[in-house]
């Protein structure tokens, strides 16, 4: 069984972003594994462990981390391997790619590697928040897709029955529960699990594992789609102007409360 996990190398949400040129950011900041992808990696590794307990031999079950990014993104693939992925694939692209071309490259690389049984992703990336790559990937493969899953229950004999039940989070804390036959694409949501925190031995072990590097252009050429007719591109990037000038409201509790009421009524006009 091949379990793929798509991971993305994203700027640390606490990093200071500086815009460079018209549409890029200064990349000399900390990048890390997209937080939602941590749930995806963890669930894949958990699944592998539970299948091994069911006496499958370890070479039958494989977790492969895959990413689209520049050379630096090998760090994120490595992070996924520290969390327990057996090996990694980096689809190397120095240019930013949109969801359509990312999904195409992922499909080509996964297919080249073998037949996927489950493809996990995070429910969204925190940098671009496109919220769509998993759906496109599923469509290119012809696999069912469920995003934002918060519960994953494999069949007790997954290898034979190839079925999983997942719960997706919907509006106001609701749940949609799906019965899926493998292969499938699943987007991990927050709360699916508690992400694995690698130990030092995990880190050392991961160093020895292989990361295969493939060129983005070679893959998308295979798909014969070097000039997609549908695309999105960032043409301009500007800093979000923080223009708030804080004013203090002082006085006794009741004076402060009266002042807030006045602000809500006269300035904000919400009451």
């Amino acid at each position: 069984m091949k379990i793929f996990v798509c991971v993305k190398h994203v700027p640390d949400s606490a990093a200071t972003i500086v815009v460079r040129g018209d549409n890029q950011i200064d990349e000399k900041i900390t990048f890390l594994l997209n937080p939602y992808d941590e749930y995806a990696v963890t669930e894949a590794v958990k699944l592998k462990k539970s299948l091994l307990q069911g006496h499958s031999s370890s070479n039958q079950i494989e977790v492969i981390a895959i990413s689209v990014g520049n050379n630096d993104a090998t760090k994120t693939v490595r992070s996924a391997m520290e969390m327990g992925a057996d090996r990694g694939i980096l689809i190397k692209s120095d240019l930013p790619q949109d969801s359509i071309s990312t999904a195409k490259a992922l499909k080509a690389a996964i297919e080249q590697d073998g037949n996927p049984d489950i493809i996990f992703t995070g429910r969204e990336s925190i940098d671009m928040v496109g919220m769509q790559t998993m759906f496109r990937l599923g469509l290119y493969f012809g696999f069912p897709v469920v995003n934002n899953i918060v519960k994953f229950t494999p069949d007790s004999d997954l290898l034979a029955n190839r079925r999983v039940v997942v719960e997706a989070l919907t509006e106001a804390g609701g749940r949609d529960i799906y019965d899926i036959t493998l292969p499938c694409v699943l987007g991990a949501g927050r709360g699916l699990n508690t992400p694995i925190y690698p130990t030092f031995p995990d880190v050392v072990k991961a160093r020895k594992r292989e990361i295969k590097i493939v060129g983005f252009d070679d893959l998308v050429k295979i798909e014969n789609q070097s000039q997609p007719s549908s695309k999105t591109e960032i043409i301009k990037l500007e800093m979000f102007a923080e223009k708030r000038i804080p004013k203090e409201i002082k006085g006794s509790s009741s004076e402060i409360a009266k002042e807030i009421v006045k602000i809500l009524k006269e300035e904000a006009k919400v009451i």
């Binding site: 496109g130 919220m131 599923g138 106001a172 979000f240 804080p246 402060i256």
Partner: protein, 355 residues
């Protein structure tokens, strides 16, 4: 004339307010505007949608459905089935731009439709405009091609160029002002068409995925993403029980009948198990844009700001003057929230009685 469609979202049989900002965005310029209503009878919304500029209402339903019980239909919403129905309607009506809301429903439908049509999609748009490309070429048939969205945890605003025959835009709720309502004459009203579009049920043929159960969430309160006023609590709330003082304060604002008001929380309050995840505002929670955001005992981490920095006004109540939020808000109160919030509730009630 370009044909654009907005996917209307309802809740408990009422059109959510956030739709009207989306309609204002979609109705800019020369176009014919369609409203897609999924799984409900469009007839009852004719007057309301018409007064915001909708010309055609398309009532999307699935082959073999009947339409007697709207409530039943809202409950039996299947994202895979209805996304495919929307794809069929887009093709049938030759729509070139589709707008939806970046809500749980929009996050299900828009990417599924975009994937199926291999069409570009930008989620969480703050605005959608026509760019230079089409204005240079006046006879060009191009429609909206530029979307503004916030990237990198809300720290930047990006202009995204969208190329494709069909384009999809997920609009962030509450950031675009609705246009003012028009009083429709009887004649104008009768010009608004309501058609039923019956989609083929292609989902029934799919054997590899079945929606076996839909457990509804708690739809009784106001939506966090669509609320006009949000009162949020953080670590200084000390317990889940204490959130009731925020609820009371929110109710006293709601009671004026002007603004939908709800209670939110920081990640800490959710991680400590005080309140459910659906109340979380921030990078890994909901991204909100209320008119007023009242932060009670919230330090204001970068990740929290990523979810609420688009708020019209931020009022911070915190005992710690050094909390980050105190220097990045419109008003701050350096005091104990347990003194200020109940007092504020009291003053709001007094004000309500006056008016």
């Amino acid at each position: 004339m370009k044909k654009r469609a907005v996917i209307i979202e309802t809740k408990n049989g009422v059109i959510k307010d956030a739709n009207f900002g989306m309609i204002a965005c979609a109705s800019k310029g020369d176009n014919t505007l369609y409203a897609f209503i999924i799984n409900q009878s469009g007839e009852i919304f004719k007057k309301e949608l018409g007064s915001y500029g909708i010309e055609h209402i398309v009532d999307i339903c699935i082959d073999s459905d009947n339409h007697e019980n709207n409530e039943k239909y809202e409950k039996s919403f299947n994202p895979i089935l209805f996304s495919d129905a929307v794809v069929q309607a887009i093709k049938d009506y030759e729509i070139s731009s589709i707008f939806g809301l970046t809500t749980p429903m929009g996050k299900e439908i828009l990417p599924r439709v975009a994937a199926e049509l291999e069409a570009p999609l930008v989620m969480d748009c703050l605005d959608v405009v026509k760019g230079f490309e089409s204005s240079f070429n006046s006879d060009s048939n191009l429609d909206f091609d530029l979307a503004k969205t916030s990237l990198y945890s809300g720290k930047t605003i990006a202009t995204v160029k969208v190329t494709g025959d069909i384009r999809l835009f997920g609009i962030r709720p509450n950031v675009i002002e609705p246009s003012s309502k028009i009083d429709l004459s009887q004649e104008q009203l009768s010009n608004i068409t309501v058609e039923k579009f019956v989609a083929k049920n292609r989902y029934a043929e799919q054997s590899n995925i079945k929606l076996i159960e839909s457990r509804q969430g708690d739809l009784s309160g106001n939506d966090l993403v669509a609320a006009d006023v949000i009162i949020s609590g953080g670590r200084a709330m000390k317990s889940g029980e204490n959130f009731k003082i925020l609820n009371e304060c929110a109710n006293s604002i709601e009671n004026f009948g002007i603004s939908s008001t709800t209670v939110g929380a920081s990640r800490v309050a959710v991680d400590l198990g005080w309140v459910p995840y659906r109340m979380q505002v921030g990078q890994t929670g909901e991204k909100v844009s209320p008119k007023v955001y009242i932060a009670c005992g919230i330090s204001g981490s970068i990740q929290h700001f990523a979810g609420m920095k688009m708020s019209g006004m931020i009022i911070a109540i915190n005992e710690n003057i050094n909390a980050a939020i105190m220097s990045n808000c419109d008003y701050f109160v350096e005091a104990d929230l347990f003194e200020i919030v109940p007092q504020l509730t009291k003053e709001l009630q007094k004000e309500r009685q006056k008016s």
